[in-house]
Amino acid sequence: MAKLAVTRETVFALRREIARIEGILPERFETPDGRDATVIRRGGMAVDPLLRSGIRRLDETLGGGLPKAALTEIHGGQTRDAGCVAGFALALLSLLLKTSPPEAPVLWAGTSEIFSEAGFPYAGGLRAFFGIDPEALLFSEVPKIQDALWVAEEAARLKALSAVVLEIRGNPERLDLTATRRLHHRAQDSGRPVFLLRQAALAEPTAAPCRLVVSPASAAARQTIIGPLAGSIGRPAFTVAVSKSRTALPGQFTLEWNPDERAFEERRSEERTGEKQRTENPVTLVPASFGRADPAAATGTVLAFQTGPAQAPRHQPSRQERPTHRRSRRTG
């Protein structure tokens, strides 16, 4: 028995050491059911360090939920997906503001480029869908990416804001691993989440512990007393794929946002139909160019529209790749 206690002491000490190295120094307690519970004490009140989506499967994949004091990347494949990417981020914000009293405003920073390409966040819709009051919103629109990053970094260290959203389009050179690390550290220090919305961007190395890829999903029909109303567009729906997380578990979820309850609901049955429709008109994703070296092409990607001579049939090498001796020899 004594030996067991000593072992546990050692484990605790090691865990504490790991936490110190990782930069999170919460008090970790062993709960009776064997799972770890992390409690950060502030002003005598325990604050949940994780933002739980309410979907059990998603929370488990994320290791309990999204960390509140951290940078979280939310990716969208195309600029026209900006609506649903922003919608998902706003749903998370709405969950965040639901648990904590929404006295502190949310700052939404971005470059002029993304706001003109994908539209400016519209406070009227935000209140209707996510219950976020216009008074609780601040926007920052600057022309240059380095200025947007500066605004976000300065905002991330403020405890007076409840969250910071930074919206950037494409894969600009300025937004590299170092920049995300700076954002992440500031978020850790202040204990406020920073959501980095990256529209039309490919996954890059990031300091954020979680990266979610959001794509649109068909909405279910509106529910009425007599059943679903055919042809109507119901609650917002998203397809969320976990691309990076602490647990490293892959996962794809179709979530529906309930604006009345301000909660997520997972959808499983309709998922099939949504999947089928999506494959109807596939377009290869190409990130928005940003005047930097192209990233190495992922295996299997091709350009969306190929010009030039007709392609070789599938499973056959193209003309250039064909061995020389088989080439039709020119005569004359």
């Binding site: 002003g43 026209r80 997906d81 900006a82 609506g83 649903c84 922003a86 919608g87 706003l90 749903a91 006295e103 405003p105 706001f115 003109s116 994908a118 539209g119 400016f120 966040p121 519209y122 406070a123 009227g124 819709g125 935000l126 209140r127 209707a128 869908f129 219950g131 009051d133 216009p134 008074e135 919103l137 601040l138 926007f139 920052s140 629109e141 600057v142 200025d147 500066w150 605004v151 300065e154 905002a155 403020l158 405890k159 007076a160 794509s215 649109p216 999903a217 068909s218 909405a219 042809g231 109507s232 567009i233 917002p236 729906a237 946002w257 009345d260 429709q277 999506r278 109807e280 008109n281």
Partner: protein
């Protein structure tokens, strides 16, 4: 060489002469920059004609060791900048004007104006040329002669202006000079023995000046709302850097931080030259300062102050438009219902929902019947091509937006939003002479379009993206088919 000589004559006399065109605007700018520089002696500097400056040095001379050292300092600094300057000091503006122009670098002692002006010619009185010749024709050739003459015939023959100038010069009447810049309510400055060239040093001096300022602000019970840092370069150039604050401010580190943002925004473009030898921090406007008690926990919960400071720093660095807040307005038009205004601007809209006095309005209940509005709205609606609709007044079957074709799977609507006739006055179209009729027609069309009824549809495409489209105008209103626009995106 004489004034008014032709260029050809002058060239004949001196073949190597350099001819420079007169540039009154540049002269004016130079005089203004000199006036800015003279700000180091007194905040009240006025321009006098095309070639003179009035400085009201009341209460300032002792800072430079008296009137004579001040005059000498001023003359030597102008000399080193390469200007030929004549200056005079007197108790009245008129006497000082005469002293500067007629007996160079002279200080007229108080009460000695009459004796000083007496022997001077009439032009020392700042009177019109016409009056001067008329006075001279009756034998009054000096200012002393005019003073000795009886007043009432003078007024009758030469007008009140003559005696007004005389009385002003002698101090019988007050003369107000009109300063270029309003005098700051508070300002502190530091003369530097050695000019500084490093921006970091400027910031250090700013902070120490702000510390001095703090006690003065505390005595007045006020905080600064607008501050200006005035940097006097050794070669005479003056830079003014102004920052605004969202709430009254007096903490030196905070003030220093705001100027730090402003200076780093200017960055490399900031011309330091040979350094600054005088730095002044002026408070341009103040407001009452409320002192709040902090809580014992130590975590200061004055969050508004943090946000205000954060907003001020963004404004100082990136401009007023860089940080915005939404303001809801009672309007049906979506682009008018929410305005985004700069953070610092006080919203004074009579129909602003947020600012109804007395009762706090309940937000509009989120009922099912309320039509849903998008979460992203385009600044200007984007035109889309709609080849076909199911029924004439119905939603599109598919549409082309940004060259990509989107097939509409489901649609809800229409939500009809008409122009606000009670707000809009029908403007008269002005046609200028010789204007292209095509341009006029476009303008008329744009104005008409703004007043057209819009039918909004929520549509969802095959991949699950939800858009907010509208058709501008109705079918059958004109021979052209109504145009379609995409106005927003849904979650």
């Amino acid at each position: 060489m004489k004034r008014g000589m032709g260029i050809a004559d002058a060239r004949a006399m001196h073949p190597t002469i350099e001819v420079v065109e007169a540039d009154p605007d540049a002269d004016r700018r130079l005089l203004e920059s000199l006036a800015d520089w003279c700000d180091r002696y007194t905040p009240l500097v006025a321009l006098d004609g095309l070639d003179g400056l009035f400085l009201d040095i009341t209460g300032c001379a002792h800072l430079f060791g008296g009137e004579k050292p001040m005059l000498e300092d001023m003359l030597s600094r102008f000399f080193h900048q390469g200007f030929g300057v004549r200056a005079g000091i007197a108790s009245t503006a008129g006497a000082a004007w005469a002293a500067a122009r007629f007996s160079g670098n002279h200080i007229v002692a108080p009460g000695k104006e009459e004796a000083f002006l007496g022997p001077l010619p009439l032009s020392a009185l700042r009177i019109e040329q016409e009056n001067r010749t008329r006075l001279e024709s009756v034998g009054l050739r000096t200012a002393g002669a005019v003073m000795a003459a009886p007043r009432s015939p003078l007024v009758r023959r030469f007008g009140a202006a003559l005696l007004l100038r005389l009385d002003q010069a002698l101090g019988r009447l007050d003369e107000a000079i009109s300063p270029r810049l309003p005098a700051a309510p508070l300002s502190v400055e530091r003369q530097l023995a050695e000019p500084i060239t490093q921006i970091e040093h400027v910031q250090l001096v700013t902070e120490s000046l702000a510390t001095t300022l703090k006690s003065q602000l505390e005595q007045r019970g006020e905080g600064a709302r607008r501050l200006a840092l005035i940097l006097f370069r050794t070669d005479g150039a003056v830079s003014r850097i102004a920052v605004g604050t969202s709430r009254p401010l007096r903490e030196p580190p905070v003030i220093q931080k705001l100027f730090h943002e402003k200076l780093s925004a200017i960055g490399q473009d900031f011309d330091v030259g040979f350094g600054f030898d005088l730095i002044r921090l002026a408070v341009l406007s103040t407001a009452p300062f409320e002192i709040r008690q902090a809580d014992l926990v130590g975590e200061a919960n004055d969050d508004d102050a943090d946000i205000a400071l954060f907003a001020d720093r963004i404004r100082a660095r990136l401009g007023e438009e860089a940080i915005l807040k939404p303001v809801t307005v009672e309007s049906h038009l979506p682009e008018r219902a929410v305005l985004t205004v700069p953070f610092a601007r006080e919203v004074k809209l009579e129909n602003s929902a947020a600012k109804k006095p007395g009762k706090a309005r309940d937000p509009v209940p989120l009922s099912v019947s309320r039509p849903e509005h998008p979460i992203r709205l385009f600044h200007s609606p984007e035109p889309i091509e709609v080849p076909a609709t199911e029924v004439p007044e119905g939603p599109p079957l598919h549409f082309r937006w940004r060259r990509a074709l989107h097939r509409v799977v489901r649609a809800e609507g229409p939500e009809r939003i008409a122009a606000e006739w009670w707000r809009e006055t029908i403007p008269k179209i002005k046609v200028k002479d010789g204007e292209d009729p095509e341009v006029v027609r476009n303008r008329v069309a744009a104005m008409e379009a703004a007043r057209l009824t819009r039918d909004y549809f929520r549509v969802e495409d095959t991949e699950g993206r939800r858009y907010w489209l509208y058709r501008q105008g109705l079918y059958g209103m004109s021979d052209k088919a109504p145009r379609w626009f995409l106005h927003g995106l849904f979650a």
